[in-house]
């Protein structure tokens, strides 16, 4: 150390306090459950044509303390049976260059103990953002907590393209369902 330079020493008491607050902030982080491989599948059924697609790289975050959650998918991750369907889905319907993400955030309503093994029927109350358009939604979900502490959230719900300003021209109106069934399975782990 160069002579004359002021010493930067934190007193014992204060450094202890510092350590404690750091630990608190760390433990607060640890109350989050994270999923990086959330599976999302949707199915549009009409007498003319069935269309389905899925992805398995959705991300999710659940705060076990506040029961808040947020799930997000990249629209362009959806893979279809037919490549042309996928192109039309991205280009003509979802406009995924403009609106690249789908988002659902809100709060879990109902009893769930993330630390205790069991299956819990809950409701997810939140805002669904698809095609840049918000829509308030309440959807049923089950949360299964295993003995090992693995949390699996599953839900099936309906999305209406018209609710999110997705335009369906009259030419293909018989091929795309007015109500599209969406299935989600998300395995959440402590971060």
């Amino acid at each position: 150390m160069l002579p004359g330079r002021p010493k930067t020493k934190i007193p014992m008491k204060k450094s202890l306090l510092l350590l404690v607050t750091l630990c608190v902030s760390y433990s607060a982080m640890a109350q989050k459950l994270v999923s990086r491989d959330t599976y999302v599948h949707f199915f549009s059924e009409t007498p003319v044509e069935d269309i389905e697609a899925s992805l398995k790289d959705g991300v999710g975050l659940v705060n076990t303390e506040t029961k808040e959650f947020v799930f997000q998918v990249n629209i362009q991750s959806f893979t279809f049976e037919k490549a042309l369907m996928q192109e039309h889905f991205n280009e003509n319907y979802m406009e995924s260059t403009k609106y690249p993400k789908g988002l659902f955030k809100g709060k879990i309503s109902g009893d769930v103990a993330f630390a205790k093994a069991g299956t819990y029927n809950v409701k997810l109350v939140g805002t669904m953002n698809i095609h840049g358009k918000d829509r308030a939604m309440t959807i049923p979900a089950t949360i299964a907590v295993s003995k090992e502490g693995l949390v699996v959230l599953e839900s099936t719900f309906i999305i209406k393209p018209t609710d999110h300003d997705v335009e369906i021209p009259s030419l293909v109106v018989t091929k795309i369902a007015k109500e599209i069934e969406v299935k989600v399975k998300s395995t959440l782990r402590a971060n």
């Binding site: 607050t21 982080m29 991300v59 705060n63 490549a83």
Partner: protein, 294 residues
């Protein structure tokens, strides 16, 4: 200093508790946005006659039927604006992988058979790391003319052959506008006169402008460096209509033949004299090998 540090760590703890920054945390754990590749630069694998940088997707086969009716100035009322006399082309191609497509076709003009391949090299993209500004591809085609020679000379089979090579470069400028430039070489094994070159060079230009989600205007032109006698540069104007599984392309062109060497380098028709042909291409794709998606 110490106080600032203390306040900072307290602040950190508080923010971690805070409820509304779950979204910010999600951004931290979410994988970085993947490279966004330009898709649907053109609606079809051809703009009109000219190949585009588009290929059918991996595992997908594509059937194309093309029609070119008679000239609008050839006794238009008697021939109902050319509808009575049509030339037809059909072709089928397959993409075993996303960057390769090959196929064969037959055009009724000069009863021409052809085999072709298209290879994509780069894809225009946006995102982290290096991004290509253009999508590029190489297209090649070999044709055999099967009508009999009428010049009274003896000919080899090889006299019937011609080869096309094109280097396609296209950029999706924005959601609506895409432009393409294509250096082109056509090699004819046999040309009509000693003065004509067997190697015909040119640069093709093409573009499309989307009017709606399912309709676009298209145009293409081939500027030639050393044209054959009594031929003109082909110019075509068209409209693309997409209806789910099909793409319909309607157009007006001075090139009636659909075999590559013929429409590119052997177009006799002139727009100004009214040698204009109404035509259409219909494209239908068939998925042979679907991707894993469930």
């Amino acid at each position: 200093m110490k106080r600032i540090l203390l306040a900072l760590s307290l602040g950190l703890a508080a923010s971690a508790w805070a409820q509304d920054d779950l979204l910010a945390e999600l951004d931290a754990i979410a994988p970085p946005a993947p490279k966004a590749y330009a898709f649907a630069t053109f609606k079809g694998t051809r703009i009109i006659n000219q190949q585009s940088v588009e290929l059918p997707a991996a595992g997908v086969g594509q059937f194309v039927i093309g029609h070119r009716f008679g000239a609008l100035n050839d006794r238009p009322l008697y021939n109902l604006f050319g509808l009575d006399v049509a030339q037809i082309r059909f072709e089928y191609s397959y993409s075993p992988v996303a960057w390769l497509n090959y196929g064969a076709g037959r055009s009724s003009g000069s009863k021409t058979y052809d085999a072709f391949a298209k290879v994509r090299f780069t894809r225009q993209s946006r995102g982290p790391g290096f991004n290509w500004p253009v999508t590029t591809a190489y297209y090649t085609n070999a044709t055999v003319v099967t009508t009999p020679f009428t010049d009274g000379f003896e000919h080899f089979f090889s006299d019937r052959l011609a080869y096309t090579h094109q280097f396609l470069m296209a950029r999706k400028m924005n959601e609506a506008l895409s432009l393409q430039v294509v250096p082109t070489l056509v090699h004819f094994n046999l040309v009509q006169t000693m003065d004509e070159s067997n190697d015909q060079w040119g640069v093709a230009f093409g573009g499309r402008y989307k009017l709606t989600q399912r309709m676009a205007l298209t145009a293409e032109y081939l500027l030639r460096a050393n044209p054959l006698d009594q031929t003109r540069n082909p110019l075509s104007l068209g409209i693309d209509i997409e209806t789910g599984g099909h793409v319909f392309q309607f157009h007006l062109t001075n090139a009636r033949s659909m075999a590559d060497p013929q429409w590119m380098m052997q177009t006799p028709g002139s727009w100004s004299k009214g040698d204009i042909f109404l035509g259409f291409n219909i494209t239908r794709v068939f998925t042979h090998k679907a991707p894993e998606f469930r």
